[in-house]
Protein backbone atom coordinates (compact mmCIF):
# COMPACT_ATOMS: atom_id res chain seq x y z
CA UNK A 1 0.00 0.00 0.00
CA UNK A 2 1.83 3.01 -1.23
CA UNK A 3 -0.01 6.19 -0.54
CA UNK A 4 1.87 9.42 -0.38
CA UNK A 5 0.14 12.13 1.52
CA UNK A 6 1.01 15.80 1.48
CA UNK A 7 2.51 17.00 4.77
CA UNK A 8 -0.19 19.64 5.00
CA UNK A 9 -2.87 16.95 4.85
CA UNK A 10 -1.08 14.82 7.43
CA UNK A 11 -0.92 17.85 9.70
CA UNK A 12 -4.66 18.27 9.49
CA UNK A 13 -5.08 14.63 10.43
CA UNK A 14 -2.75 14.93 13.41
CA UNK A 15 -4.57 18.05 14.63
CA UNK A 16 -7.96 16.37 14.33
CA UNK A 17 -6.75 13.46 16.46
CA UNK A 18 -5.64 15.82 19.25
CA UNK A 19 -9.26 16.90 19.66
CA UNK A 20 -10.06 13.53 21.18
CA UNK A 21 -7.67 13.07 24.11
CA UNK A 22 -9.78 10.30 25.62
CA UNK A 23 -10.22 8.04 22.61
CA UNK A 24 -8.59 8.15 19.20
CA UNK A 25 -11.49 6.20 17.78
CA UNK A 26 -13.59 9.35 18.08
CA UNK A 27 -11.48 10.82 15.29
CA UNK A 28 -12.92 8.34 12.75
CA UNK A 29 -15.56 10.68 11.34
CA UNK A 30 -13.25 13.72 11.17
CA UNK A 31 -10.62 11.65 9.36
CA UNK A 32 -13.18 10.32 6.91
CA UNK A 33 -14.33 13.88 6.22
CA UNK A 34 -10.78 15.09 5.69
CA UNK A 35 -10.05 12.16 3.39
CA UNK A 36 -13.15 12.65 1.30
CA UNK A 37 -12.47 16.38 0.96
CA UNK A 38 -8.94 15.63 -0.24
CA UNK A 39 -9.55 12.61 -2.48
CA UNK A 40 -13.25 12.80 -3.35
CA UNK A 41 -14.26 9.40 -2.04
CA UNK A 42 -13.37 6.68 0.45
CA UNK A 43 -11.32 3.99 -1.27
CA UNK A 44 -10.18 0.64 0.16
CA UNK A 45 -6.80 2.24 0.77
CA UNK A 46 -8.46 5.04 2.72
CA UNK A 47 -10.20 2.55 4.98
CA UNK A 48 -6.99 0.64 5.69
CA UNK A 49 -4.98 3.79 6.21
CA UNK A 50 -7.46 5.44 8.61
CA UNK A 51 -7.94 2.21 10.56
CA UNK A 52 -4.19 1.80 10.97
CA UNK A 53 -3.81 5.43 11.97
CA UNK A 54 -6.38 5.04 14.76
CA UNK A 55 -5.32 1.53 15.85
CA UNK A 56 -8.61 0.08 14.65
CA UNK A 57 -9.65 -2.75 12.36
CA UNK A 58 -10.65 -1.78 8.79
CA UNK A 59 -14.19 -3.03 9.51
CA UNK A 60 -14.55 -0.32 12.18
CA UNK A 61 -14.11 2.28 9.45
CA UNK A 62 -16.00 0.47 6.70
CA UNK A 63 -19.09 0.15 8.92
CA UNK A 64 -19.12 3.92 9.29
CA UNK A 65 -18.84 4.53 5.56
CA UNK A 66 -21.82 2.26 4.94
CA UNK A 67 -23.86 3.85 7.75
CA UNK A 68 -23.37 7.59 7.27
CA UNK A 69 -24.98 8.79 4.03
CA UNK A 70 -22.45 11.53 3.36
CA UNK A 71 -19.54 9.14 2.78
CA UNK A 72 -19.15 7.53 -0.61
CA UNK A 73 -17.15 4.63 -1.93
CA UNK A 74 -17.14 5.84 -5.56
CA UNK A 75 -15.93 9.09 -7.06
CA UNK A 76 -18.64 11.66 -7.70
CA UNK A 77 -18.91 14.17 -10.54
CA UNK A 78 -16.92 17.38 -10.36
CA UNK A 79 -19.89 19.13 -8.74
CA UNK A 80 -22.18 17.56 -6.21
CA UNK A 81 -25.76 18.85 -6.30
CA UNK A 82 -27.90 18.05 -3.27
CA UNK A 83 -31.61 18.82 -3.43
CA UNK A 84 -33.81 18.59 -0.35
CA UNK A 85 -36.61 16.06 -0.76
CA UNK A 86 -38.48 16.38 2.55
CA UNK A 87 -41.99 17.73 3.10
CA UNK A 88 -41.62 21.53 3.19
CA UNK A 89 -39.33 21.49 0.18
CA UNK A 90 -41.62 19.06 -1.62
CA UNK A 91 -44.53 21.45 -0.96
CA UNK A 92 -42.33 24.17 -2.44
CA UNK A 93 -41.59 22.20 -5.60
CA UNK A 94 -38.36 20.30 -4.90
CA UNK A 95 -39.44 17.25 -6.94
CA UNK A 96 -39.70 19.53 -9.98
CA UNK A 97 -36.32 21.07 -9.15
CA UNK A 98 -34.80 17.60 -8.86
CA UNK A 99 -36.29 16.45 -12.17
CA UNK A 100 -35.19 19.63 -13.86
CA UNK A 101 -31.58 19.30 -12.68
CA UNK A 102 -31.52 15.75 -13.96
CA UNK A 103 -32.95 16.73 -17.32
CA UNK A 104 -30.66 19.72 -17.76
CA UNK A 105 -27.55 17.66 -17.04
CA UNK A 106 -28.66 14.44 -18.71
CA UNK A 107 -28.33 12.47 -15.48
CA UNK A 108 -30.59 9.45 -15.46
CA UNK A 109 -31.52 6.65 -13.15
CA UNK A 110 -32.59 5.89 -9.63
CA UNK A 111 -34.82 8.55 -8.21
CA UNK A 112 -33.09 8.82 -4.91
CA UNK A 113 -29.53 7.85 -4.72
CA UNK A 114 -26.83 9.86 -6.44
CA UNK A 115 -26.95 9.94 -10.25
CA UNK A 116 -24.24 11.42 -12.46
CA UNK A 117 -24.42 13.26 -15.75
CA UNK A 118 -22.86 11.38 -18.71
CA UNK A 119 -20.01 13.91 -18.94
CA UNK A 120 -19.16 13.24 -15.29
CA UNK A 121 -19.50 16.88 -14.42
CA UNK A 122 -22.44 16.64 -12.01
CA UNK A 123 -23.69 14.18 -9.46
CA UNK A 124 -27.26 14.87 -8.39
CA UNK A 125 -28.69 13.56 -5.17
CA UNK A 126 -31.99 13.86 -3.35
CA UNK A 127 -31.25 14.36 0.37
CA UNK A 128 -33.36 14.79 3.50
CA UNK A 129 -34.28 18.07 5.24
CA UNK A 130 -31.40 20.54 5.10
CA UNK A 131 -32.78 22.74 7.89
CA UNK A 132 -33.86 25.68 5.81
CA UNK A 133 -37.48 24.70 5.20
CA UNK A 134 -38.71 28.31 5.19
CA UNK A 135 -36.89 29.02 1.93
CA UNK A 136 -37.93 25.87 0.09
CA UNK A 137 -36.80 24.36 -2.16
CA UNK A 138 -33.20 24.38 -1.01
CA UNK A 139 -30.15 23.08 -2.84
CA UNK A 140 -26.48 22.63 -2.02
CA UNK A 141 -23.99 23.08 -4.84
CA UNK A 142 -20.95 21.35 -3.34
CA UNK A 143 -20.65 23.10 0.03
CA UNK A 144 -22.55 26.23 -1.05
CA UNK A 145 -26.11 26.70 -0.03
CA UNK A 146 -28.94 28.11 -2.19
CA UNK A 147 -32.51 28.99 -1.24
CA UNK A 148 -35.74 29.11 -3.23
CA UNK A 149 -34.26 27.14 -6.11
CA UNK A 150 -37.10 26.74 -8.55
CA UNK A 151 -36.77 25.76 -12.19
CA UNK A 152 -35.94 29.27 -13.36
CA UNK A 153 -32.71 29.35 -11.35
CA UNK A 154 -31.29 26.04 -12.49
CA UNK A 155 -29.55 27.14 -15.69
CA UNK A 156 -27.88 30.00 -13.85
CA UNK A 157 -26.55 27.63 -11.19
CA UNK A 158 -25.26 25.15 -13.74
CA UNK A 159 -23.49 28.00 -15.55
CA UNK A 160 -21.85 29.05 -12.32
CA UNK A 161 -20.62 25.54 -11.52
CA UNK A 162 -18.84 24.51 -14.71
Amino acid sequence: MAITLLPEFENKIETAITHYPVSKRSASLPLLHLWQEEFGHISDEAIDWIAAKLDLQPINILELVTFYPMFRRQPFGKHHIRICRTLSCALGGSYETHACFKKATGAEGDDHGPVSSPDGKYTIEFVECLASCGTAPVVMMNDDFYEDVNESKIQELLQKYQ
Binding site: H19, Y20, P21, V22, S23, R25, S26, A27, S28, L29, P30, L32, H33, L54, N60, E63, L64, F67, Y68, P69, M70, F71, R82, R85, T86, L87, S88, A90, L91, V127, E128, C129, L130, A131, S132, C133, G134, T135, A136, M140, D143, D144, F145
Partner: protein
Protein backbone atom coordinates in the same frame (compact mmCIF):
# COMPACT_ATOMS: atom_id res chain seq x y z
CA UNK B 1 -53.83 40.86 16.19
CA UNK B 2 -50.87 38.84 17.37
CA UNK B 3 -48.64 40.03 20.20
CA UNK B 4 -45.44 41.65 18.95
CA UNK B 5 -42.38 39.44 18.54
CA UNK B 6 -40.08 39.29 21.54
CA UNK B 7 -36.61 38.66 20.27
CA UNK B 8 -34.31 37.38 22.96
CA UNK B 9 -32.32 34.68 21.20
CA UNK B 10 -32.78 36.22 17.75
CA UNK B 11 -32.30 39.78 19.01
CA UNK B 12 -29.36 40.52 16.72
CA UNK B 13 -30.06 38.01 14.01
CA UNK B 14 -30.65 39.84 10.71
CA UNK B 15 -30.19 43.23 12.43
CA UNK B 16 -28.57 45.66 9.98
CA UNK B 17 -24.80 45.90 10.47
CA UNK B 18 -24.62 42.97 12.91
CA UNK B 19 -21.82 40.56 11.99
CA UNK B 20 -20.81 37.19 13.37
CA UNK B 21 -17.32 38.11 14.58
CA UNK B 22 -16.33 38.50 18.22
CA UNK B 23 -15.75 42.25 18.07
CA UNK B 24 -19.30 42.92 17.01
CA UNK B 25 -20.57 40.53 19.65
CA UNK B 26 -18.56 42.20 22.40
CA UNK B 27 -19.67 45.64 21.23
CA UNK B 28 -23.23 44.48 21.90
CA UNK B 29 -22.43 43.38 25.45
CA UNK B 30 -21.26 39.91 24.50
CA UNK B 31 -19.34 37.80 27.05
CA UNK B 32 -20.43 40.12 29.89
CA UNK B 33 -22.63 37.29 31.14
CA UNK B 34 -19.67 34.94 31.10
CA UNK B 35 -17.65 37.43 33.13
CA UNK B 36 -20.52 37.62 35.60
CA UNK B 37 -21.01 33.85 35.78
CA UNK B 38 -17.40 33.04 36.35
CA UNK B 39 -17.43 35.00 39.61
CA UNK B 40 -20.45 32.99 40.79
CA UNK B 41 -20.46 29.60 42.48
CA UNK B 42 -21.26 26.92 39.87
CA UNK B 43 -24.12 25.70 42.04
CA UNK B 44 -25.54 29.24 42.14
CA UNK B 45 -25.68 29.25 38.33
CA UNK B 46 -27.46 25.91 38.40
CA UNK B 47 -29.93 27.35 40.90
CA UNK B 48 -30.71 30.25 38.58
CA UNK B 49 -31.33 27.84 35.70
CA UNK B 50 -33.63 25.82 37.92
CA UNK B 51 -35.54 28.93 38.96
CA UNK B 52 -35.89 30.02 35.33
CA UNK B 53 -37.89 26.83 34.59
CA UNK B 54 -36.13 26.75 31.23
CA UNK B 55 -37.25 23.78 29.14
CA UNK B 56 -35.12 22.16 26.46
CA UNK B 57 -35.64 23.43 22.93
CA UNK B 58 -34.40 20.29 21.16
CA UNK B 59 -37.72 18.47 21.04
CA UNK B 60 -38.68 16.84 24.31
CA UNK B 61 -39.09 20.07 26.32
CA UNK B 62 -37.38 18.54 29.34
CA UNK B 63 -36.48 20.86 32.24
CA UNK B 64 -32.91 22.05 31.82
CA UNK B 65 -32.42 22.68 35.55
CA UNK B 66 -33.62 19.16 36.32
CA UNK B 67 -31.30 17.63 33.71
CA UNK B 68 -28.36 19.45 35.23
CA UNK B 69 -29.35 18.43 38.76
CA UNK B 70 -28.84 14.74 37.90
CA UNK B 71 -25.10 15.37 38.01
CA UNK B 72 -23.52 16.45 41.26
CA UNK B 73 -20.02 17.64 40.42
CA UNK B 74 -18.98 17.32 44.06
CA UNK B 75 -19.76 13.61 44.18
CA UNK B 76 -18.77 12.51 40.69
CA UNK B 77 -15.27 11.14 40.39
CA UNK B 78 -15.22 10.79 36.60
CA UNK B 79 -14.90 13.74 34.21
CA UNK B 80 -18.18 15.41 33.24
CA UNK B 81 -18.80 16.23 29.58
CA UNK B 82 -21.16 18.63 27.88
CA UNK B 83 -22.31 18.26 24.29
CA UNK B 84 -24.16 20.86 22.30
CA UNK B 85 -26.64 19.19 19.99
CA UNK B 86 -26.42 21.12 16.72
CA UNK B 87 -27.58 18.23 14.58
CA UNK B 88 -30.77 20.11 13.59
CA UNK B 89 -32.33 17.51 11.32
CA UNK B 90 -35.97 17.32 12.38
CA UNK B 91 -37.89 18.20 9.21
CA UNK B 92 -39.45 21.64 9.53
CA UNK B 93 -36.81 23.00 11.92
CA UNK B 94 -34.36 25.72 10.89
CA UNK B 95 -33.53 27.87 13.89
CA UNK B 96 -30.17 26.50 15.04
CA UNK B 97 -28.73 27.13 11.58
CA UNK B 98 -29.55 30.82 11.95
CA UNK B 99 -27.90 31.06 15.37
CA UNK B 100 -24.80 29.25 14.15
CA UNK B 101 -24.41 31.35 11.03
CA UNK B 102 -25.42 34.75 12.34
CA UNK B 103 -24.70 34.82 16.08
CA UNK B 104 -22.28 31.99 16.87
CA UNK B 105 -20.79 33.71 19.89
CA UNK B 106 -24.12 33.74 21.67
CA UNK B 107 -24.01 29.94 21.51
CA UNK B 108 -20.35 29.74 22.52
CA UNK B 109 -20.95 32.03 25.49
CA UNK B 110 -23.99 30.01 26.57
CA UNK B 111 -21.93 26.86 26.24
CA UNK B 112 -19.01 28.16 28.32
CA UNK B 113 -21.37 29.32 31.09
CA UNK B 114 -23.12 25.93 31.07
CA UNK B 115 -19.77 24.11 31.19
CA UNK B 116 -18.57 26.23 34.09
CA UNK B 117 -21.82 25.62 35.98
CA UNK B 118 -21.38 21.87 35.60
CA UNK B 119 -17.60 21.68 36.14
CA UNK B 120 -17.03 20.54 32.56
CA UNK B 121 -13.50 20.76 31.18
CA UNK B 122 -14.04 19.21 27.77
CA UNK B 123 -17.08 19.90 25.61
CA UNK B 124 -18.06 19.02 22.06
CA UNK B 125 -20.30 20.80 19.63
CA UNK B 126 -21.90 18.16 17.42
CA UNK B 127 -22.95 19.82 14.18
CA UNK B 128 -24.69 18.03 11.32
CA UNK B 129 -22.47 17.22 8.36
CA UNK B 130 -24.54 19.25 5.91
CA UNK B 131 -23.54 22.48 7.69
CA UNK B 132 -19.97 22.80 6.35
CA UNK B 133 -20.07 26.57 6.41
CA UNK B 134 -21.62 26.60 9.88
CA UNK B 135 -18.79 24.37 11.11
CA UNK B 136 -16.20 26.81 9.72
CA UNK B 137 -17.95 29.77 11.33
CA UNK B 138 -17.98 27.99 14.68
CA UNK B 139 -14.32 26.98 14.35
CA UNK B 140 -13.43 30.60 13.83
CA UNK B 141 -15.65 31.73 16.70
CA UNK B 142 -13.94 29.28 19.03
CA UNK B 143 -10.51 30.52 17.93
CA UNK B 144 -11.61 34.11 18.55
CA UNK B 145 -12.92 33.20 21.99
CA UNK B 146 -9.70 31.37 22.77
CA UNK B 147 -7.65 34.43 21.76
CA UNK B 148 -9.62 36.46 24.29
CA UNK B 149 -9.06 33.81 26.96
CA UNK B 150 -12.74 32.84 27.20
CA UNK B 151 -11.74 29.27 26.28
CA UNK B 152 -8.52 27.44 27.14
CA UNK B 153 -6.45 27.39 30.29
CA UNK B 154 -6.97 29.71 33.27
CA UNK B 155 -10.03 31.42 31.79
CA UNK B 156 -10.10 35.12 32.71
CA UNK B 157 -7.56 34.44 35.43
CA UNK B 158 -9.89 32.22 37.46
CA UNK B 159 -8.00 28.96 37.06
CA UNK B 160 -10.97 27.43 35.23
CA UNK B 161 -10.00 25.41 32.19
CA UNK B 162 -12.19 24.42 29.24
CA UNK B 163 -11.74 23.09 25.72
CA UNK B 164 -14.53 23.05 23.14
CA UNK B 165 -14.17 21.12 19.89
CA UNK B 166 -16.41 20.92 16.85
CA UNK B 167 -17.45 17.45 15.71
CA UNK B 168 -19.16 17.07 12.35
CA UNK B 169 -21.82 14.45 11.69
CA UNK B 170 -22.22 12.86 8.28
CA UNK B 171 -25.83 12.94 7.17
CA UNK B 172 -27.67 10.67 9.61
CA UNK B 173 -30.78 12.08 11.35
CA UNK B 174 -30.47 9.62 14.21
CA UNK B 175 -27.35 11.47 15.41
CA UNK B 176 -29.81 14.04 16.81
CA UNK B 177 -31.02 11.48 19.35
CA UNK B 178 -28.73 12.13 22.28
CA UNK B 179 -27.41 8.63 22.87
CA UNK B 180 -27.01 8.04 19.14
CA UNK B 181 -25.09 11.29 19.09
CA UNK B 182 -22.82 10.05 21.86
CA UNK B 183 -22.09 6.79 20.02
CA UNK B 184 -21.34 8.81 16.89
CA UNK B 185 -18.98 11.03 18.84
CA UNK B 186 -17.22 7.90 20.06
CA UNK B 187 -16.50 7.06 16.42
CA UNK B 188 -19.18 4.41 15.99
CA UNK B 189 -22.42 3.97 14.11
CA UNK B 190 -25.05 6.22 15.69
CA UNK B 191 -26.97 3.37 17.31
CA UNK B 192 -28.98 4.83 20.21
CA UNK B 193 -28.32 3.23 23.58
CA UNK B 194 -30.95 1.57 25.69
CA UNK B 195 -32.19 3.51 28.73
CA UNK B 196 -31.85 2.36 31.41
CA UNK B 197 -28.98 1.99 32.05
CA UNK B 198 -27.40 4.34 29.52
CA UNK B 199 -28.82 7.67 30.64
CA UNK B 200 -26.34 10.32 29.48
CA UNK B 201 -26.23 11.80 32.99
CA UNK B 202 -24.84 8.50 34.28
CA UNK B 203 -23.25 6.61 31.40
CA UNK B 204 -22.77 9.13 28.63
CA UNK B 205 -19.74 9.97 26.53
CA UNK B 206 -16.94 7.46 27.29
CA UNK B 207 -19.26 6.07 29.98
CA UNK B 208 -18.97 9.32 31.95
CA UNK B 209 -21.73 11.70 33.12
CA UNK B 210 -22.72 13.85 30.15
CA UNK B 211 -25.09 16.74 29.53
CA UNK B 212 -26.60 17.06 26.07
CA UNK B 213 -28.43 20.29 25.28
CA UNK B 214 -29.81 21.85 22.14
CA UNK B 215 -28.28 25.01 20.61
CA UNK B 216 -31.23 27.22 21.52
CA UNK B 217 -31.35 25.87 25.09
CA UNK B 218 -27.69 26.75 25.66
CA UNK B 219 -28.24 30.25 24.25
CA UNK B 220 -31.10 30.65 26.72
CA UNK B 221 -28.77 29.88 29.64
CA UNK B 222 -26.86 33.05 28.86
CA UNK B 223 -30.06 35.08 29.13
CA UNK B 224 -31.04 33.36 32.36
CA UNK B 225 -27.77 34.55 33.88
CA UNK B 226 -28.23 37.98 32.36
CA UNK B 227 -31.62 38.66 33.89
CA UNK B 228 -31.70 36.14 36.73
CA UNK B 229 -33.79 33.00 36.90
CA UNK B 230 -36.84 34.62 38.46
CA UNK B 231 -37.05 37.41 35.88
CA UNK B 232 -36.64 34.83 33.10
CA UNK B 233 -39.49 32.78 34.57
CA UNK B 234 -41.75 35.82 34.23
CA UNK B 235 -41.42 35.74 30.45
CA UNK B 236 -44.05 33.51 28.91
CA UNK B 237 -46.53 31.58 31.02
CA UNK B 238 -46.04 29.36 34.09
CA UNK B 239 -44.18 26.17 33.17
CA UNK B 240 -43.69 27.55 29.63
CA UNK B 241 -41.10 30.19 30.34
CA UNK B 242 -38.98 32.27 28.03
CA UNK B 243 -39.45 32.74 24.34
CA UNK B 244 -39.91 30.25 21.56
CA UNK B 245 -38.37 30.44 18.12
CA UNK B 246 -40.96 29.22 15.66
CA UNK B 247 -39.93 28.02 12.23
CA UNK B 248 -42.87 28.22 9.85
CA UNK B 249 -42.71 26.52 6.48
CA UNK B 250 -45.06 25.13 3.85
CA UNK B 251 -48.11 26.83 2.39
CA UNK B 252 -48.01 30.27 4.03
CA UNK B 253 -47.32 33.62 2.40
CA UNK B 254 -44.45 34.56 4.69
CA UNK B 255 -42.59 31.47 5.88
CA UNK B 256 -39.65 32.10 8.18
CA UNK B 257 -38.47 32.19 11.78
CA UNK B 258 -40.23 34.25 14.41
CA UNK B 259 -39.65 34.56 18.13
CA UNK B 260 -42.41 35.09 20.66
CA UNK B 261 -42.97 34.82 24.37
CA UNK B 262 -44.22 31.31 25.04
CA UNK B 263 -48.00 31.28 24.99
CA UNK B 264 -48.32 34.90 23.82
CA UNK B 265 -50.03 34.07 20.55
CA UNK B 266 -52.31 31.47 19.05
CA UNK B 267 -51.81 29.23 16.04
CA UNK B 268 -54.34 31.34 14.13
CA UNK B 269 -52.40 34.52 14.85
CA UNK B 270 -49.16 32.85 13.87
CA UNK B 271 -50.48 31.59 10.56
CA UNK B 272 -52.73 34.48 9.59
CA UNK B 273 -51.20 37.63 11.11
CA UNK B 274 -47.53 36.77 11.39
CA UNK B 275 -47.15 34.59 8.31
CA UNK B 276 -49.63 36.45 6.12
CA UNK B 277 -52.12 33.62 5.79
CA UNK B 278 -52.25 30.70 3.39
CA UNK B 279 -50.56 31.24 0.03
CA UNK B 280 -52.31 31.38 -3.34
CA UNK B 281 -55.54 32.44 -1.62
CA UNK B 282 -56.16 28.91 -0.44
CA UNK B 283 -57.51 27.66 2.86
CA UNK B 284 -55.78 25.98 5.78
CA UNK B 285 -56.08 22.22 5.83
CA UNK B 286 -53.55 20.86 8.29
CA UNK B 287 -50.63 21.82 10.51
CA UNK B 288 -47.77 19.79 11.91
CA UNK B 289 -46.83 21.97 14.89
CA UNK B 290 -43.46 20.75 16.18
CA UNK B 291 -41.34 19.12 13.50
CA UNK B 292 -42.41 16.21 11.30
CA UNK B 293 -42.59 13.80 14.24
CA UNK B 294 -45.39 15.77 15.92
CA UNK B 295 -48.95 14.60 15.40
CA UNK B 296 -50.84 16.50 12.70
CA UNK B 297 -53.75 18.84 13.51
CA UNK B 298 -56.69 19.27 11.17
CA UNK B 299 -58.38 22.58 10.41
CA UNK B 300 -61.95 22.53 11.68
CA UNK B 301 -61.12 20.03 14.41
CA UNK B 302 -62.35 20.84 17.92
CA UNK B 303 -60.08 20.44 20.93
CA UNK B 304 -60.68 20.53 24.66
CA UNK B 305 -58.32 22.72 26.60
CA UNK B 306 -58.30 23.89 30.22
CA UNK B 307 -58.25 27.67 30.21
CA UNK B 308 -58.87 30.40 32.73
CA UNK B 309 -62.53 31.42 32.67
CA UNK B 310 -63.89 34.93 33.40
CA UNK B 311 -63.93 34.26 37.16
CA UNK B 312 -60.34 33.03 37.15
CA UNK B 313 -61.22 29.38 37.67
CA UNK B 314 -59.94 26.77 35.23
CA UNK B 315 -62.66 25.57 32.89
CA UNK B 316 -62.73 23.15 29.98
CA UNK B 317 -63.08 25.11 26.79
CA UNK B 318 -63.77 23.85 23.34
CA UNK B 319 -61.37 25.48 20.94
CA UNK B 320 -60.33 25.27 17.30
CA UNK B 321 -56.89 24.78 15.80
CA UNK B 322 -56.61 28.56 15.38
CA UNK B 323 -57.23 29.10 19.12
CA UNK B 324 -54.40 26.90 20.40
CA UNK B 325 -51.85 28.97 22.35
CA UNK B 326 -48.33 28.33 21.10
CA UNK B 327 -46.62 26.77 24.12
CA UNK B 328 -45.45 23.36 25.35
CA UNK B 329 -48.40 22.46 27.56
CA UNK B 330 -51.19 23.53 25.20
CA UNK B 331 -49.83 21.44 22.35
CA UNK B 332 -49.49 18.48 24.69
CA UNK B 333 -53.08 19.03 25.85
CA UNK B 334 -54.45 18.86 22.30
CA UNK B 335 -52.62 15.59 21.69
CA UNK B 336 -49.51 16.68 19.85
CA UNK B 337 -46.26 18.41 20.83
CA UNK B 338 -44.43 21.72 20.56
CA UNK B 339 -41.35 19.63 19.72
CA UNK B 340 -38.61 21.49 17.93
CA UNK B 341 -40.73 24.52 17.00
CA UNK B 342 -41.00 23.54 13.34
CA UNK B 343 -44.51 24.42 12.12
CA UNK B 344 -45.38 22.89 8.74
CA UNK B 345 -48.55 24.27 7.15
CA UNK B 346 -50.56 22.51 4.43
CA UNK B 347 -53.30 24.10 2.33
CA UNK B 348 -56.54 22.59 1.03
CA UNK B 349 -55.00 21.55 -2.29
CA UNK B 350 -52.71 19.08 -0.55
CA UNK B 351 -53.18 15.36 -0.72
CA UNK B 352 -52.70 14.08 2.83
CA UNK B 353 -51.72 10.62 1.64
CA UNK B 354 -48.95 12.13 -0.45
CA UNK B 355 -47.78 14.29 2.45
CA UNK B 356 -47.65 11.26 4.71
CA UNK B 357 -45.83 9.26 2.03
CA UNK B 358 -43.20 11.99 1.93
CA UNK B 359 -42.75 11.92 5.71
CA UNK B 360 -42.71 8.12 5.83
CA UNK B 361 -39.98 8.05 3.24
CA UNK B 362 -37.88 10.26 5.49
CA UNK B 363 -38.23 7.88 8.43
CA UNK B 364 -37.61 4.79 6.32
CA UNK B 365 -34.38 6.38 5.13
CA UNK B 366 -33.29 7.43 8.62
CA UNK B 367 -34.06 4.44 10.85
CA UNK B 368 -30.77 3.24 12.29
CA UNK B 369 -31.91 -0.35 11.94
CA UNK B 370 -31.25 -1.68 15.43
CA UNK B 371 -34.83 -2.51 16.42
CA UNK B 372 -36.89 -4.81 14.23
CA UNK B 373 -40.23 -2.96 14.61
CA UNK B 374 -38.64 0.32 13.55
CA UNK B 375 -36.36 -1.00 10.82
CA UNK B 376 -39.01 -3.17 9.17
CA UNK B 377 -42.02 -1.05 10.10
CA UNK B 378 -40.66 2.23 8.77
CA UNK B 379 -40.01 0.57 5.40
CA UNK B 380 -43.46 -0.98 5.34
CA UNK B 381 -45.07 2.35 6.13
CA UNK B 382 -43.14 3.93 3.28
CA UNK B 383 -44.13 1.16 0.87
CA UNK B 384 -47.80 1.24 1.80
CA UNK B 385 -48.15 5.03 1.74
CA UNK B 386 -46.36 5.12 -1.59
CA UNK B 387 -48.54 2.60 -3.25
CA UNK B 388 -51.59 4.41 -1.86
CA UNK B 389 -50.32 7.73 -3.20
CA UNK B 390 -49.61 6.19 -6.59
CA UNK B 391 -53.00 4.71 -7.34
CA UNK B 392 -52.20 1.20 -6.18
CA UNK B 393 -53.92 1.18 -2.82
CA UNK B 394 -55.42 -2.06 -1.59
CA UNK B 395 -58.68 -2.18 0.34
CA UNK B 396 -56.99 -3.17 3.57
CA UNK B 397 -54.17 -0.60 3.40
CA UNK B 398 -55.48 1.91 5.97
CA UNK B 399 -55.93 -0.82 8.53
CA UNK B 400 -52.59 -2.39 7.68
CA UNK B 401 -50.82 0.94 7.98
CA UNK B 402 -52.36 1.56 11.38
CA UNK B 403 -51.44 -1.91 12.51
CA UNK B 404 -47.80 -1.44 11.54
CA UNK B 405 -47.59 1.97 13.25
CA UNK B 406 -49.30 0.70 16.42
CA UNK B 407 -46.72 -2.04 16.69
CA UNK B 408 -43.70 0.26 16.56
CA UNK B 409 -44.45 2.97 19.12
CA UNK B 410 -43.37 1.90 22.60
CA UNK B 411 -41.44 -1.14 21.39
CA UNK B 412 -38.12 0.37 20.42
CA UNK B 413 -34.81 1.45 21.91
CA UNK B 414 -35.23 5.13 21.15
CA UNK B 415 -37.99 7.68 20.55
CA UNK B 416 -37.53 7.42 16.80
CA UNK B 417 -40.09 4.64 17.06
CA UNK B 418 -42.69 7.19 18.20
CA UNK B 419 -41.33 9.81 15.80
CA UNK B 420 -42.04 7.60 12.79
CA UNK B 421 -45.36 6.16 13.92
CA UNK B 422 -47.04 9.32 15.28
CA UNK B 423 -47.35 10.94 11.84
CA UNK B 424 -48.88 7.74 10.43
CA UNK B 425 -51.30 7.27 13.32
CA UNK B 426 -52.38 10.90 13.32
CA UNK B 427 -52.78 11.31 9.56
CA UNK B 428 -54.91 8.18 9.50
CA UNK B 429 -57.01 9.30 12.44
CA UNK B 430 -57.52 12.85 11.23
CA UNK B 431 -58.00 12.25 7.50
CA UNK B 432 -59.53 8.75 7.29
CA UNK B 433 -61.69 9.66 4.29
CA UNK B 434 -58.66 10.53 2.17
CA UNK B 435 -57.02 7.20 2.84
CA UNK B 436 -60.28 5.40 2.26
CA UNK B 437 -60.80 7.25 -1.00
CA UNK B 438 -57.43 6.01 -2.21
CA UNK B 439 -58.49 2.49 -1.43
CA UNK B 440 -61.71 3.18 -3.36
CA UNK B 441 -59.64 4.93 -6.05
CA UNK B 442 -61.96 7.89 -5.77
CA UNK B 443 -59.61 10.82 -5.51
CA UNK B 444 -61.82 13.64 -6.74
CA UNK B 445 -64.04 13.15 -3.76
CA UNK B 446 -61.26 14.06 -1.43
CA UNK B 447 -59.54 17.02 -2.97
CA UNK B 448 -62.75 18.82 -3.93
CA UNK B 449 -60.84 20.56 -6.71
Amino acid sequence: MAAPQRRLIFKHIDAPGYTNDIDCYIKHGGYDDLKKSITMEPTAIKDEVKKSQLRGRGGAGFSCGMKWSFIDAKKVTKPIYLICNADESEPGTFKDRQIIHKDPHQLIEGMIISCFANSVKLAYLYIRGEFPEGAKILERAIEEARAKNFIGKNILGTGYELEIYIHRGAGAYICGEETGLIESLEGKRAYPRIKPPYFPAVLGLYMCPTIVNNVETLCNVKHVINMGGEAFAKIGTPNNTGTRVLCVSGDVNKPGYYEFECGSLTMGELINDVCGGIRNGRKLKAVIPGGSSAKVLRAGEKFKLKQKGADGAMVDKEITLEDIPVDFDSFAAVGTMAGSGGVIVMDDSRDMVECLANISEFYAHESCGQCTPCREGSLWMKKITHRMAHGQARKEDSALLKNVADNIAGRTICAFGEACSWPVQSFLAKFPEEFQAKANKDEELVLGK
